[in-house]
């Protein structure tokens, strides 16, 4: 009975120890080296992870710390004082949240473009052929919230198609939309071509003509809340270089 009684505190203590270890380990490894902190839109996850690896290989002693989330979430935390050197957003509008607050360093540059696709289960069991099909009753549609770039782009596309979507959920970033389709809980979701590509066969992508009216442009800018502006500049230059662009186009982005 006594052993059983201790199990809850033991579990809690274990959790505390585990989380404690994580944070201290991360802090220690970062101190002797230079670190560039990059906040990037959720849709850039695979591309920027690969670009950061290449960059680290070419610049000894530099660690690139990446943080991925919805562009508006990232912009809000930068304005709240998060130490960041580079911000790569999925729309000029969300990037402007940071530059309007005078946290930008240098001119923003467009480094990629992205087009929407309809993500469906592999094999397209609901026979979705275009935006009209995603609005049909019985088709569970998931979109990004309108405050996130992918949501704003989706609104534009539906307006261009003259279709009134009836989503079951407005997700906080594009990867959450992709997740719901991957897990089989949603029948269709509007994501970027790059998301379908990086999902690697877990979803099928259906192209639709109205996506040309809602092409997302991705701007990148230096941020002054971090401490390593020289490395930040160099990282931005690498993203814009042929090597960086090759990674992006390889993941389904359109070149800038």
């Amino acid at each position: 009975m006594r052993a059983a009684r201790t199990s809850i505190p033991v579990l809690l203590a274990a959790a505390v120890v585990l989380t404690g270890c994580n944070s201290s380990a991360a802090g220690k490894s970062a101190t002797p080296k230079r670190t560039v902190v990059v906040f990037a839109a959720a849709s850039l996850k695979e591309s920027f992870t690969a670009i950061a690896k290449q960059y680290e290989a070419k610049h000894a002693g530099v660690t690139v710390k990446l943080n991925f989330a919805g562009s508006d979430t990232l912009a809000a935390s930068i304005n709240a004082g998060a130490p960041v050197d580079v911000f790569a957003a999925a729309s000029p509008k969300t990037l402007a949240i940071v530059t309007d607050a005078k946290h930008g360093k240098g001119e923003p540059a467009t480094f990629a473009r992205n087009q929407l696709e309809i993500a469906v289960a592999p094999g397209n069991p609901k026979h979705v052929a275009g935006l009209t099909d995603t609005a049909k009753a019985g088709t569970k549609l998931v979109l990004c919230a309108a405050t996130v770039p992918c949501g704003a782009a989706a609104q534009k596309a539906y307006a261009a198609a003259g279709v009134q979507p009836k989503p079951v959920s407005f997700e906080l970033d594009v990867k959450s939309v992709l997740n719901k389709v991957e897990l089989g809980e949603a029948d269709a979701g509007l994501v970027y071509v790059s998301d379908v590509k990086t999902a690697g066969g877990k979803v099928d992508g259906i192209a639709f003509p109205e996506s040309a009216k809602a092409i997302a442009t991705y701007p990148i800018v230096g941020v002054d809340t971090g401490k390593d502006s020289a490395d930040g500049k160099a990282f931005i230059a690498y993203v814009l270089s042929p090597a960086g662009q090759q990674v992006l186009t390889g993941n389904g982005f359109l070149s800038s």
């Binding site: 052993a3 079951v168 959920s169």
Partner: protein, 271 residues
């Protein structure tokens, strides 16, 4: 009954106030209260009324209160018997069972949301059959919100009630049994009344946790105004583009929950 002993203890003379307890207590209180003070000071009070007029806020608030209350009711119906089993029955694997059912306490709620998908989702272990039979699936529905909240909040009730059951003087139950009371009769007439303070505290904890639930809800139930967008979700969304509105919404949620808890306490919960 059990209270008389406690009262006698309280009536005894106390041997001075130990500073070693009072100082950390003050620091602890300040730590917990300061963020709330910040919220109150920074609040754009003039906006509160305007925000409240927005129908979205009232919809989210109503949804939050309804789902948290249903989730709490479900937690009481299943959690109290579960706590009783854990506290009173001796069986192999009891420690393991206790650890498992309190796991949602340490599980990050977002992970809880994913786990709920895998169990109750349209493609989940249980949800698959339900969907095949009825065409109904929990994700993206208000029922899904209730499930997510109950999953995260019920362990608080179980832990609290189990603790009370273990601390209880079992001689009353044994006396009832020797007088010929059935197990059920003894539970409802003897155990339950003695359990009241712990049950009340557990219920309040459970309700409060359900009301503030964010991670499992957004993952499992999604975010749609009127169906699954509870106050915490509305607050998070507002925080992204209109931080002032987010502060106002947080205050509304805070005030409403405090008012409800205070009202309940005066009426029933003489804890």
């Amino acid at each position: 009954m059990a209270l008389t002993a406690e009262r006698a203890r309280n009536d005894r003379r106390t041997a001075g106030v130990p500073l070693g307890l009072v100082l950390p207590a003050l620091l602890g209180a300040a730590f917990l209260v300061l963020p709330l003070v910040g919220l109150l000071i920074r609040a754009p009070w003039s906006h509160v009324v305007a925000e409240l007029r927005g129908s979205d806020v009232l919809t989210a608030l109503r949804l939050s209160l309804t789902t948290a209350s249903i989730a709490t009711a479900i937690s009481v119906v299943f959690g109290v018997p579960l706590a009783w089993v854990l506290a009173r029955l001796d069986f192999p694997g009891r420690g393991l069972l206790r650890a498992l059912v309190t796991l949602p306490l340490v599980l990050p709620p977002v992970v809880g949301g994913v786990a709920l998908f895998l169990a109750f989702g349209r493609a989940g272990v249980l949800g698959q059959g339900l969907y095949a039979l009825t065409g109904f699936s929990l994700p993206f529905t208000t029922a899904g919100v209730v499930v997510a909240e109950a999953f995260v909040a019920m362990p608080f009730l179980v832990v609290s009630v189990e603790g009370t059951l273990r601390a209880m003087d079992r001689r009353y139950e044994e006396a009832a049994a020797t007088l010929g009371a059935s197990g059920w009769f003894a539970f409802t007439r003897v155990t339950l009344p003695m359990l009241a303070p712990g049950l009340a505290a557990g219920t309040v904890l459970c309700w409060a946790r359900a009301l503030g639930e964010f991670g499992a809800t957004i993952t499992f139930a999604g975010n749609f105004p009127g169906t699954t967008q509870t106050m915490p979700l509305a607050i998070y969304l507002a925080l992204q583009h209109d931080p002032e509105a987010a502060v106002v919404l947080s205050l509304v949620l805070l005030l409403v929950s405090v008012a409800i808890l205070a009202g309940l306490r005066d009426r029933w919960l003489r804890v």
